[in-house]
């Protein structure tokens, strides 16, 4: 066998590609579902917390800040293991994919809150004064004057952070969630061949390279607004 054939035999074996193709596809479906769910709940929760914080009620702000700091400081995998192995011990049984969704949503929410909040405070105080002087209340000022301005500077960091958290869906493999990586590695040990692993890696590249490219495009598009 030539070197190239040997390489193909270990990493790109056609019959294995054919055999494990459905597994990888189902992994892709799981990854995408969890990713979308995480983006929706994470961003919504993050925005919700930032809005609450804008009321500047100390009793509510403190727990928000603590929550945000903790989830920005902890490695997501640590939290995933705590929740996944800890909850059953309390008699609460939730499946792995739900743990992954929950933890990643909380992580994204923490980062998103911080970004939304930075955006809100970056709008000059005169905007609040002007809006309130015309009789708008706090909620009206926030939603119709402040947030539309804040959102602009939030978009680039939010995009990057969202992509980063979404990539963490691969961590699900550690707790047996049937996402792409899990499908790839279990097929690899079943077949004794690296082909399924390569398929999984390629699937990630195919999904995330366009997303990252989109992210940098958004970053450039919005760049001129800053500075």
């Amino acid at each position: 066998m030539t070197g190239l054939e040997r390489f193909q035999d270990a990493f790109l074996k056609p019959e294995l590609i054919e055999r494990y193709w459905p597994d990888i596809v189902s992994g892709i479906a799981v990854t995408l579902q969890i990713a979308v769910a995480v983006v929706v709940t994470g961003l919504a929760l993050g925005l919700f917390l930032a809005v609450i914080r804008s009321y500047r009620i100390r009793l509510l702000n403190l727990p928000i800040i603590v929550f945000v700091d903790i989830f920005r400081a902890l490695p997501p995998l640590v939290v995933i293991l705590i929740v996944y192995f800890g909850l059953p011990n309390l008699g609460i049984n939730i499946p792995g994919f739900a743990v992954l969704w929950l933890v990643l949503s909380l992580v994204l929410a923490a980062f998103a809150e911080e970004i939304f909040w930075s955006g809100i405070v970056s709008v000059r105080k005169g905007q609040w004064d002007a809006a309130r002087s015309t009789g708008l209340d706090h909620w009206q000022t926030l939603t119709s004057v402040i947030l539309p301005q804040a959102i602009r500077i939030c978009v680039p960091p939010l995009t990057n952070r969202t992509i980063a958290v979404t990539k963490n869906t691969a961590l699900g493999t550690v707790i047996g969630v049937g996402e792409i990586m899990n499908q790839g590695t279990s097929a690899m040990s079943l077949s004794g061949n690296a082909t399924p692993l390569m398929m999984a890696a390629v699937a990630y590249v195919v999904i995330f390279v366009p997303v990252v490219a989109l992210g940098s495009w958004i970053e450039r598009r919005f760049a001129w607004k800053r500075a």
């Binding site: 640590v78 705590i82 911080e114 692993l197």
Partner: protein, 221 residues
């Protein structure tokens, strides 16, 4: 409540697990000391490549950066550690982690440095070159110091990410903090060791996260 404390904040179990956790923490520190400088160094190379005069090199660095920013680090690590042996390339978990982190961190640090270098005006280059400094001297003494200062919050916050990311080394059986904690968990059937590991991460990273927020808010205005 009692069962919660028993499962998550069990001081007896934490005490038993402490020596194991401590040695894991030492390995994490060691790992950070290896991968952060590696990543920063690689990032400088990437940034330098991405502002090169040669179009081919610029495109190559762009492709490198986009690719390794897109691949989840865990995927990269598993491919290197479990995939490469099929090509006859075997390495220790430590080596695999170093390579994966170099590829991943250098592309993120590289983008940050590039933004920093681009934030330094053309006049700085011209002034330095007009006094006879070479390109490299100008880059090293005039541009890079300003560039890194301009993107300091991003550098620090990416370093936090790198430190957090070292936890995935546990997946390839590198005996760092999370691996040690999870080992203790599987022996004791109790989650407290991982909570203890989390506390260690928090003690180190919480102040840094606070600092990053401060820096970002200050530079934002």
């Amino acid at each position: 409540m009692e069962i919660f404390l028993f499962q998550f904040l069990n001081l007896d179990i934490m005490r038993q697990a402490w020596p194991l956790i401590l040695s894991g923490a030492q390995m994490t520190v060691l790992l950070c000391l290896a991968v952060i400088p590696l990543g920063l160094f690689g990032g400088l190379l990437v940034a330098t490549g991405s502002i090169s005069q040669w179009r081919a090199l610029r495109w190559a660095t762009k492709a490198y950066v986009d690719f390794f920013r897109a691949v989840p680090p865990l995927v990269l690590l598993i491919v290197i550690y479990s995939g490469l042996p099929f090509a006859g390339i075997r390495m220790s978990p430590f080596m695999a982690v170093c390579i994966a982190f170099f590829l991943n961190a250098s592309s993120f640090y590289g983008e940050i440095f590039r933004a920093g270098v681009e934030s330094v005006g053309r006049g700085q280059w011209e002034a330095a070159r007009s006094t006879g400094l070479t390109w490299l001297q100008t880059y090293r003494f005039v541009v890079l110091p300003q560039a890194s200062r301009n993107v300091l919050p991003d550098l620090v916050s990416n370093t936090v990410e790198v430190i957090k990311l070292t936890s995935i080394a546990s997946v390839v059986s590198f005996t760092e903090l999370l691996y040690a904690a999870d080992m203790a968990r599987s022996v004791t059937y109790n989650t407290s060791p991982i909570v203890l590991a989390a506390v260690l991460y928090l003690i180190v990273l919480w102040p840094v996260v606070r600092l990053v927020s401060r820096l970002e808010h200050r530079l934002g205005h």
